[in-house]
Amino acid sequence: MSYAIETEGLVKVYKQRWTKREMRAVDGISLKVEPGATFGLLGPNGAGKTTFVKMLLACSHPTSGRAMVFGKDSWIPESRRSIGYLPENHRFPTYLTGAGMLDFYGALSGVDAATRKVRIPELLDMVGLDRWGTTRLGKYSKGMLQRVGLAQALIHEPKLLVLDEPSDGVDPVGRKQIRDILHRLEEKGVTIFLNSHLLQEVELFCRDVAIIRKGKVALEGTVKDLTSEGGYRVDVEHVSDNLAAELKSRAKGVVSNNGTLQFLYNTREEANKAFDTVRAANCEVTAMTKASSTLEEVFIRTVEQK
């Protein structure tokens, strides 16, 4: 099976011209994204996300390793026919109108004039800019530019959509609109590769994620797997030191939060025993829940690892 994206030991080393000092922006990333997946690439600033994406799109040459898109080396122009891309900090030509810009990038993407004529009004309508097609991009707000940028990425009906911070500068309504469009594309089987620092957005939309740290994949898996810790939490208040010590002796972790002690147990049985111990001491359990982490917590734990 050919993956939508497949990289093998992708490395990018930048050398300073005069000092010859090396900086490994991407350090041996091997990643596989299945066709039809919704994949989120996460990482702190300077982790190598953008460099990775640029190598995927042939904007930057890998020092070693290779990147493939649907089985074709990304360096071959033909491989990019199946990619729609919306870059971060894009600068669309402001002398073009919305429709003119779509026409230009559509032509570069190999869409013939007759198809462009049909597709452009459809796309403008889809991103809610149908009345702005004849207005120059210089007059668009940032949110509108993001939306017309998304339309640009879709002009040639790509099989893979690479989006770099797609919600940047978009208001909550626009953000939902973009999410809805992406969901519709997902249903059509389009692979969506999202590079975003908005963890909540990635958690809401993506099925798979990879967290990059210092140019390497630090963690990879489905959002569901990464956020379910496999444990139970028992919250108690106003317990004696002795009882707290007894509960702690069987817990794998304890957190104090505004006077509430949160004990984390591996199994439901252990949590129930702790519950009984608390009740036997005439104290109250304020909550008992299946423990899980947010993607943000997983992300912070991963990037803060020594």
């Binding site: 904007c59 990019r80 894009h90 600068r91 030509p93 002398y95 230009f104 190999g110």
Partner: protein, 275 residues
């Protein structure tokens, strides 16, 4: 389709930057001058009188209409070869370096288009803008003089080809410097520096006489043959306008060779660049 889209995009950007219109209005002003303000009376192939702004000018008693057209074409061609080319360099540097703007270059590179095509599209788009303006003006002048004076000298059209050729070589150098430094200002400075150096090297014979060391003379000779020969091109343009035979086409083919190498280098460096 892709190449045409890239060329049209360059033309659209030039129009938006008012460059195209500035050239167009300047050319139109010159054409209007020749069309409505200058009046020439020709009798038996000789200029009988000439009026500009209703003021009758003194005409040398034995100036032929042919000579008048030759002088007018010569003046205009020299103007286009010097001032026109200078203005075109100013305008083109910005259009070429705009390709490398962050946020714009990534978008174009992400499309299924080879890097060579992207840069050549910009190059030819630029050339189309300058050629359109150049031939609009020279064709217009040729037609106006043909109708008013009855002399249809095609030499100005040939001279335009020489000017366009020299500009196309300058544009390869602009492209090379833009790929290297991504700056319109640096491209302009470097290109004008090249023109100045070319002007100095045009006095090769004199320089060789003045230089005492063999090495220095070899350096001057090497640079002379390697770099574009703008003044020599101007001399060829003068001969073309006068309808005289050109002794040597070496300045043209050696300049063309420089252009091919500069363009090839620019394309090769662009293909290796990281953005």
């Amino acid at each position: 389709m892709v190449t045409l889209a890239l060329i049209l995009d360059t033309v659209r950007e030039a129009m938006a930057r008012k460059v195209f219109w500035a050239f167009f209005f300047a050319s139109s002003a010159i054409l209007l001058f020749f069309m409505f303000i200058m009046h020439v009376d020709v009798v038996n192939g000789m200029v009988a009188s000439m009026t500009i702004f209703q003021a009758r000018g003194h005409v040398n008693g034995n100036m032929s209409a042919e000579k008048l057209v030759q002088n007018a074409q010569g003046g205009l061609s020299v103007f286009l070869y010097t001032v026109g080319m200078g203005l075109a360099i100013f305008a083109s540097a910005g259009l070429i370096s705009a390709v490398f703007e962050p946020g714009r270059v990534e978008l174009v590179l992400s499309k299924p288009v080879g890097r060579t095509k992207i840069l050549l599209g910009r190059y030819f788009g630029n050339l189309v803008i300058v050629a359109a303006n150049l031939f609009y003006l020279t064709l217009g002048v040729w037609v106006i003089f043909g109708i008013k004076v009855g002399v249809w000298r095609p030499h100005i059209l040939l001279a335009s080809v020489v000017t366009l050729f020299m500009f196309s070589v300058m544009l390869t150098f602009i492209l090379l410097t833009a790929v290297l430094w991504e700056s319109a200002a640096v491209s302009i400075i470097a290109t004008f520096a090249l023109i100045v150096i070319s002007g100095v090297l045009a006095a090769k014979s004199m320089l060789e006489r003045l230089l005492s060391s063999e090495f220095s003379r070899d350096v001057v000779a090497t640079l002379y043959y390697a770099l574009p020969k703008i003044p020599d091109g101007g001399n060829i343009l003068r001969l073309v306008i006068m309808g005289q035979p050109v002794d040597s086409w070496m300045p043209i083919w050696s300049t063309a060779l420089f252009g091919v190498i500069a363009l090839g280098s620019g394309l090769w460096i662009f293909s290796k660049r990281n953005f």
